[in-house]
Amino acid sequence: MAQEQSALELEYAIPPRQRFNPLKWARREPFGAFGFALIIFIVFMSAAAPVLRTAPPNEFAVGPPLAGPNTENWFGTTARGKDVWSRVLFAGRISLKIGVATVLLGTLGGTLIALLSAYAGGAVDFAVGRIADMFIAIPGLLLALVLHSSISADLPDLPGLQREELYLVVAISLFFMPGTYRIMRGIVLELRESTYVEAAQVVGSSSFRIMWRHIAPNMFGLMIVITSISLPAAILAEASLSFLGLGVPIGGLDAVPSWGADLSGSSRRFFSVAPWLAVFPGLALAITVFGFNIFGDSLRDSLDPRLRGRI
């Protein structure tokens, strides 16, 4: 009897939580670890830009016009003598800033709306679902253009986020939010019907408590996955909008270089005679997106056993 009881205890015992071992994870997911290293590298280079730069990024005529990579200007100069190396370093800041802010707003916003609407169900869920459909139906670029002409002038400057940056965050978030909502809504509908939620309802837990304590924690893993996968797309969206001239401020001492903006504007006229104008910002953008992509992919494999990587 005692032996049976001990076998049962062993079968139903909650296994001890395994501690996360980064080295073990890196061995299992070497490309994910490589992606993470790339992200750390980009973050470091962007953070250390004021130290690593060889000239102020917006300063004109720090070298001869269209000079190729040389000992003074490692990545060459633009047609107006701006230092490409320094611009590439500083541009990483805006890409990461906009990318992270966008994904946080888009993912958190989409998740929260999904949680509230799907749990409430009925008319609320229906209405929110149709609004999401509407946003999904509008092409992202068109939405960004409409927002630029309608709200960008009225947005405030926030601490650490200028008006133009806030516009980018809002425009790109609105693009991501409906997709996140769709995925998260499915999870909430599934969790709402689970036994432990029913049990919580039976014992009289409030809706807020059920959402906060029983449903939300189970969405967390997927949220991380969505975040890591959305981030490179957000960085590319920032680059695309800056490429179209809808990005960060373009002039003045405080103007922020952006990889997307540097791949457009006056530089494009000189790509064939000065390829370094395209190569270095493009390479930086590609490395960042690549890093986030493979890191996100590995994270997805690690956190979601149902989505193990085959395409």
């Binding site: 000189f270 190569v279 493009g282």
Partner: protein, 640 residues
């Protein structure tokens, strides 16, 4: 067993995974980029420090500017002669078989209206080609080439008589007679009044009292005061012949005009330019967001004898196609691919890209461009504030950065009119001198009715170089005035929105501080000092509607300055002796610079380059500087 597998074992068993795909693509992209980077200019011979490089560039630029200035006239003459010789040779070779076909052009934005009497951007290719003007005027040759008129006579200092070309018809068959011509000219002032001065071409007709049809083919005009430029103004696009019947039928009500006798007349515009509006060599068959298409009108009147640029039987070219290409780089790509016949301006730095291309001719021309910075008189009413702005701008640094292959200081009147522009580069440098300390002192001493602590440089998109210029301006102002708490920023919007906000008269102050326009890379002149570019300082023109420098200004010093400059503008316009007029114009320019009036020109490029397709013949290079290229009916296209 599976639990003991490591990653590599699992990988070997796998088909293509998303991750493998990503990794493969990433490695391929990075490798390609690295190879491309390796192909760049690796020349490290130039190991000068950054600052000396800039100084060297500035010195080289100054030298180039000096040399260019000295040789400007020679170059212009040589370029014209060379072009003429080439064209003559080409014509001789081609013989009489001058091919028509489609001439392919581009512009950065669609037009916002086509009525020749209302000022709009991006519309002259339609107006010049579908309508008839009295004639064209080429200042480089001082030639009037007759078009809709066959002659004109100045009967006395304030009376002008026009003889209209007989046999002309509008595209709907209506005759072009003196009634139509007098109507077309007379409506300019009425439209100006009806639209409350929102268009700025008034200097070309403000001196006129009336236009009267004398007989079927004669129009007499009476002036309130003499005007030395009157004949040249008549070549401008707004003096196009417009069919009054079309305006009656399709016109849109714009407002009312009160005559001197108290009678009130309704005023109409035709922004769509319906069929039958014009009598020019082409009719418009397409106009939308992608561009315009003009096709040769078979019943076009003969020019007998044909003056310079015209041919007896109408234009050789069958179709003019103008595409809207907002992006200059895309336009350049189309030009390189033989999909456009003209590309201008070509940046001197990109000239190597055109080397060795047989299908393209790059022509060097003297530069008459303009890079203007208008100041809002509602805010900068105290001249010390305007002077502070001008002292806060680093002119030499600007030339080194923006005009690295040659730049020169710009006077209020273009150097392309040497008979009138007599200020030397050293004269101009006395006024246009970078001095941050003085700028700060002047700013602090200046009176501001509206406090200014941030300077917004407001510019139109379209020219990437314009972005660089505005960026430089904002940086220079902030560096010089930053120590006293002034910041600067750039705002860029599309051209039509920019123009609307530039001339918005809803309040006495603008929602920007500096209006930046013109990249100074290339440009020409109609031959009139007002057009090039006194109109930018005129309190009855841009000075009024764009820069709040006008006679009725609530700021007394602006009103007083406006009265003074209007007197000076009128005096020089009335002076018909060129030498005496040059003296008056020098005084006028000095006054503008002494008073930092309204607007200031940044250094411009000392040379400009135009790209033409090799198939385009007899394009009359000078006409592209005079804006009458659209009226050059003798242009033709080589076959093949």
């Amino acid at each position: 067993m599976r639990d003991n597998e490591n990653y590599w074992q699992r990988l070997r068993r796998r088909p293509v995974t998303r991750r493998s795909f990503l990794v493969g693509s990433g490695v391929a992209a990075a490798g390609s980029a690295a190879i491309l980077a390796g192909c760049g200019d690796d020349d490290d011979d130039d190991d000068d420090a950054a600052a000396p490089a800039a100084t060297q560039a500035a010195a080289a630029t100054q030298a180039a500017a000096a040399a260019t200035e000295a040789a400007a006239e020679e170059q212009a003459a040589a370029a014209t002669e060379a072009a003429a010789a080439t064209q003559a040779a080409a014509q001789e070779e081609a013989g009489p078989d001058k091919h028509g076909g489609t001439l392919k052009l581009w512009k950065t934005e669609e037009d916002a209206g086509l009525d020749p009497g209302v000022f709009h951007l991006n519309n002259t290719e339609v107006i010049y080609s579908t309508m008839t003007q009295p004639y064209t005027y080429q200042p480089t040759k001082n030639v009037f080439a007759m078009d809709g008129m066959v002659g004109f006579e100045q009967v006395d200092p304030t009376t002008f008589v026009w003889s209209i070309r007989p046999g002309m018809k509008f595209h709907n068959g209506d005759p072009v007679d003196s009634e139509a011509v007098a109507f077309s000219f007379g409506r300019l002032e009425k439209l100006y009044r009806a639209l409350d001065g929102t268009h700025t071409t008034r200097t070309g007709f403000a001196f006129v009292d009336s236009f009267e049809p004398t007989d079927d083919l004669t129009v007499t005009e009476h002036w309130a005061r003499p005007n030395a430029d009157a004949p040249v103004y008549r070549a401008r696009h707004y003096y196009s012949f417009l069919n009054p019947r079309v305006v009656d039928e399709f016109g849109k009500f714009e407002g009312s005009y009160e005559h001197a006798d108290g009678t009130v007349e309704d005023v109409y515009s035709v922004q769509e330019l319906p069929h039958g509006s014009g009598s020019g060599p082409f009719t418009m068959v397409k106009r939308d967001a992608t561009g315009t298409r003009l096709e040769r009108w078979p019943d076009y009147h003969k020019h007998t004898p044909a003056d310079d640029g015209f041919v007896e039987d109408g234009p050789y070219i069958d179709t003019w196609e103008t595409r809207v290409i907002p992006d200059q780089t895309a336009a350049k790509a189309a030009f390189l691919a033989s999909d456009l016949d003209v590309f201008a301006p070509v940046d001197p730095l990109e000239l190597p890209e055109f080397d060795g291309l047989d299908h393209i001719n790059i022509v060097e021309l003297p530069a008459g461009g303009r890079s203007s910075q208008g100041m809002d008189g509602g805010k900068f009413h105290d001249k010390r504030a305007r002077q502070a702005l001008q002292k806060a701008f680093d002119y030499e640094g600007f030339i080194a950065a923006i005009r690295p292959l040659g730049g020169k200081y710009a006077a209020p009147i273009t150097d392309l009119l040497p008979a009138y522009q007599k200020l030397s580069q050293s004269d101009l440098q006395q006024w246009l001198r970078f001095d941050p300390a003085e700028a700060q002192a002047l700013w602090q001493a200046a009176d501001f009715v509206v406090p200014v602590d941030n300077i917004k440089v407001f510019m139109p998109t379209g020219s990437p170089l314009q972005h660089e210029i505005s960026d430089f301006m904002a940086q220079s102002l902030e560096k010089a005035l930053g120590p006293i708490g002034i910041t600067a920023e750039v705002e860029a919007v599309d051209g039509n929105s920019w123009a609307a906000r530039a001339v918005d008269r809803s309040t006495d102050i603008k929602d920007w501080e500096i209006l930046s326009y013109g990249d100074g890379a290339a440009g020409g002149t109609t031959g009139v000092p007002n057009d090039s570019s006194l109109i930018h300082y005129d309190p009855r023109a841009y000075g009024f509607n764009a820069f709040n420098h006008y006679l009725e200004s609530p700021r007394p010093e602006i009103a007083e300055g406006s009265a003074t400059i209007i007197d000076m503008l009128n005096a020089q316009e009335a002076e018909t002796d060129p030498e005496a007029r040059a003296v008056l114009l020098t005084e006028l320019q000095s006054w503008i610079l002494d008073n930092h009036w309204c607007n200031w020109g940044l250094p411009i490029s000392s040379v400009s380059y135009y790209g033409f397709s090799a198939r385009l013949q007899d394009q009359g290079v000078a006409d592209w500087l005079n804006f009458y290229d659209r009226r050059r009916e003798s242009m033709w296209l080589q076959k093949g």
